[in-house]
């Protein structure tokens, strides 16, 4: 695992070099005044000390509207447009970890999803360790953390004078090798500073008891808490659409193409049969499904919860439901 140091003065030249190979996205302030991943360069300066983006970078890999196949002359065909090389600089570790989780579904070896695979292969992920935690953050409770590099090709830690890079994949190692002239050796002091910064952010996190959630949720399938949650839930898809790990989708036809779009288990139509039968007929079952899927079924299938602890579902729920509260109550 190679570690290198990039001075802040060399950040722009480095991004410019990546820009020669493909599109570069980096944190900047958008028209609405929010820090978001924006195509680089922009007139506005880069922002490195933001909390997190409103949206996870999921749409780079699972676009909200993705054409799978085209209909041409009565035939269903695949029109492979070339996927451009893309660099995502500055996504937070929770969102990068979410990609590692999505890989387990879409690159499961048994049956890879070619559309996801192509975008994942052509996209280089450079994560940026967190500068501060939000009250809704709980990454450390789901096996991640503010310095988690899983899912990223490179993890950067912003230091006083520059960025400490840590390679997380062969692709990341390659990037560091190519940029050797812009990089310096990582000094012990820099490594110490990085570790301290990450520790500092970790200390801001409030732990959530999720580690043994699979077992706990197993016994709680019939808990009255699901009914309480279902009664409150409005049945919108905000939590899952903004979730970096939620990936359920729909496939529908337009006159000239077959399209994949995001879908959500909170919607009654999601499981509705043509006969009118619905295996999850009320918000209670649907709410339980979402939480069970993340914290029990995923643990059974993959050994890890399908949650990166980013807290977007908590920050954005129109009725301020908090899955941490429900997890706590289920465990109580």
């Amino acid at each position: 695992m190679t570690e290198k140091l990039l001075s802040l003065a060399n950040l722009d030249p480095w991004l410019a070099r990546l820009r020669e190979r493909g599109s570069v996205y980096a944190p900047g302030t958008d028209q609405a005044g929010e820090v978001a991943l924006r195509e680089w360069p922009q007139p506005e300066p880069l922002v490195l000390d933001y909390k997190n983006f409103r949206e996870p970078p999921k749409a780079f890999f699972l676009p909200r509207n993705q054409t799978l196949l085209y209909f041409r002359d009565g035939k269903t065909v695949e029109l492979n447009s070339a996927v451009p090389e893309t660099f995502l600089f500055g996504i937070r570790p929770c969102d990068a970890r979410a990609l590692a989780l999505l890989d387990r579904v879409f690159l499961d070896g048994d049956q890879n999803d070619p559309y996801y695979a192509r975008l994942r292969e052509k996209t280089t992920v450079i994560a940026l360790a967190c500068a501060q935690a939000m009250p809704s953050c709980f990454c450390a409770s789901v096996g991640s953390g503010p310095g988690d590099g899983s899912g990223a090709d490179l993890l950067a830690v912003a230091l006083e004078s520059g960025l400490l890079f840590r390679a997380g994949s062969g692709k990341g190692e390659g990037l560091l090798a190519e940029a050797a002239d812009l990089l310096a050796e990582a000094t012990p002091a820099a490594k110490r500073e990085a570790a301290e910064r990450i520790q500092g952010v970790t200390a801001q996190l409030t732990p959530v008891p999720t580690a043994d959630s699979a077992l706990r949720l197993r016994g709680s399938y019939d808990s009255p808490l699901w009914g309480t949650a279902g009664q409150k839930c409005l049945g919108c898809g905000t939590c899952s659409f903004l979730c970096p790990t939620c990936h359920c989708f729909d496939i529908t036809d337009e006159p000239d193409r077959r399209v994949r779009t995001w879908d959500c288990c909170a919607y009654p139509q999601f499981t509705l049969h043509a006969s009118g039968h619905n295996p999850r007929p009320t918000p209670k079952e649907r709410w339980r499904q979402r939480l069970m899927h993340k914290f029990r079924y995923a643990v059974e299938n993959f050994g890890v919860p399908f949650c990166a602890g980013c807290g977007r579902c908590i920050r954005n729920c129109p009725v301020s439901m908090d899955l941490r509260t429900v997890l706590k109550e289920l465990g109580a």
């Binding site: 809704s136 659409f241 399209v259 908590i314 129109p318």
Partner: protein, 343 residues
């Protein structure tokens, strides 16, 4: 402020009494949420839970959204026989929320005799996004109201700061003309609080619409496209709206399918146009849709215009009276029809 503390105590007493005397079996109010600038709905069935109820400037949801689903008719006669009797429900309502209940009554989605409406004179509520933005890179750990109705915030380093009320009130509240619940069985609080703090700017809605309308056609279209481009079709605006109660929404009908499920530009435009038109003459301007939107979209752009049109053409404001005939259900020979043009 002291007044909302007092209101909160009255509210808890009211709910406790309604439940204890079995006037209601369910009471819908707000309780503290896990994050600052927010509350979360509380659906109470036990008297001992009444102390969890809160009343503060963060009581954002329009709670009437929970009512229609409590009165859904069973699918068939057999199910009707087995179904429990519809509950008697107490519900906390701000001015705009009570107007939504009036529309639900007009449209026969709820049963008046099963409702106990607890109105509260509303001083306006905080748009959490405005508050969060006002703090910049600081983040709130806690928030409350000070004596002047401004918002006191404790941030991550333990320091306190104050956000001015007019800077963080929700748009719908700044534009509000009737903060008093028109329809209620029990009324808490005193009128005029909004006027006292000098934040109400009821003309704002029309000013905003006029500003938009003054742009050339292309700019208006571009403006609309820009507004909706961020939409992710999560349905939060629709689900937060008490008047979007259709059992099968047009967006989900599939025989025929009127609109695709994704974010294709034409589907996005259709989604927002259809919603605006389905709420024309019905929208009570609570702004729940706007505050529910996770993407910060001005989802009321078209609704504001349509509300003004309905009021100007027909002198009708939805929800002001249950007895009034809904504007789109009535026809008078002298209705204005200047907008009807030759093809």
């Amino acid at each position: 402020m002291a007044e909302s503390r007092q209101l909160e105590a009255q509210l808890r007493e009211t709910a406790e009494k309604l439940l204890r005397e079995k006037n209601v079996s369910l009471f819908v109010g707000y309780e503290k949420a896990s994050l600052p600038f927010r509350t979360t709905p509380l659906l109470l069935t036990k008297t001992e839970e009444a102390p969890r109820l809160v009343w503060n400037p963060f009581c954002n949801a329009n709670l009437s959204v929970y009512l229609p689903r409590l009165f859904l008719a069973p699918a068939d006669a057999r199910a009707a026989k087995a179904a429990p009797a519809p509950p008697r429900v107490g519900v906390v309502l701000k001015g705009c929320d009570s107007r939504a209940v009036a529309v639900l009554l007009q449209e026969k989605q709820v049963r008046r005799e099963n409702l106990v409406l607890v109105g509260i004179h509303c001083p306006g509520i905080v748009d959490r996004r405005k508050a969060e933005k006002a703090l910049g890179e600081h983040q709130a750990l806690g928030a409350g109201e000070d004596g002047g109705g401004n918002i006191r915030v404790v941030v991550e380093d333990g320091t306190e700061s104050t956000l001015r009320r007019e800077d963080v009130l929700a748009d719908a509240c700044l534009e509000c003309r009737s903060p008093a619940p028109a329809l209620h069985d029990i009324l808490l609080g005193a009128p005029g609080e909004a006027a006292r703090t000098g934040t109400a700017r009821p003309g704002t809605a029309r000013t905003r619409t006029a500003e938009f309308e003054s742009r050339p056609l292309e700019a208006r279209w571009a403006g609309f496209q820009e507004v909706i481009a961020r939409c992710i079709r999560c349905n939060a605006c629709r689900q937060a709206c008490p008047l979007c109660y259709c059992k099968t929404c047009i967006f989900e009908q599939n025989r025929p399918r009127w609109i695709g499920p994704g974010t294709d530009p034409s589907d996005l435009a259709l989604y927002h146009l259809i919603r605006a038109f389905h709420l024309a003459g019905r929208c009570t301007e609570c702004g729940a849709c706007e505050r529910a939107c996770p993407m910060g979209i001005d989802v009321r752009l078209l609704a504001r215009k349509l509300s003004a049109e309905v009021e100007d053409l027909y002198g009708y404001r939805p929800g002001e009276s249950v007895e009034a005939t809904p504007v789109l259900s009535s026809f008078a020979l002298d209705d204005p029809q200047d907008f009807v043009t030759e093809p």
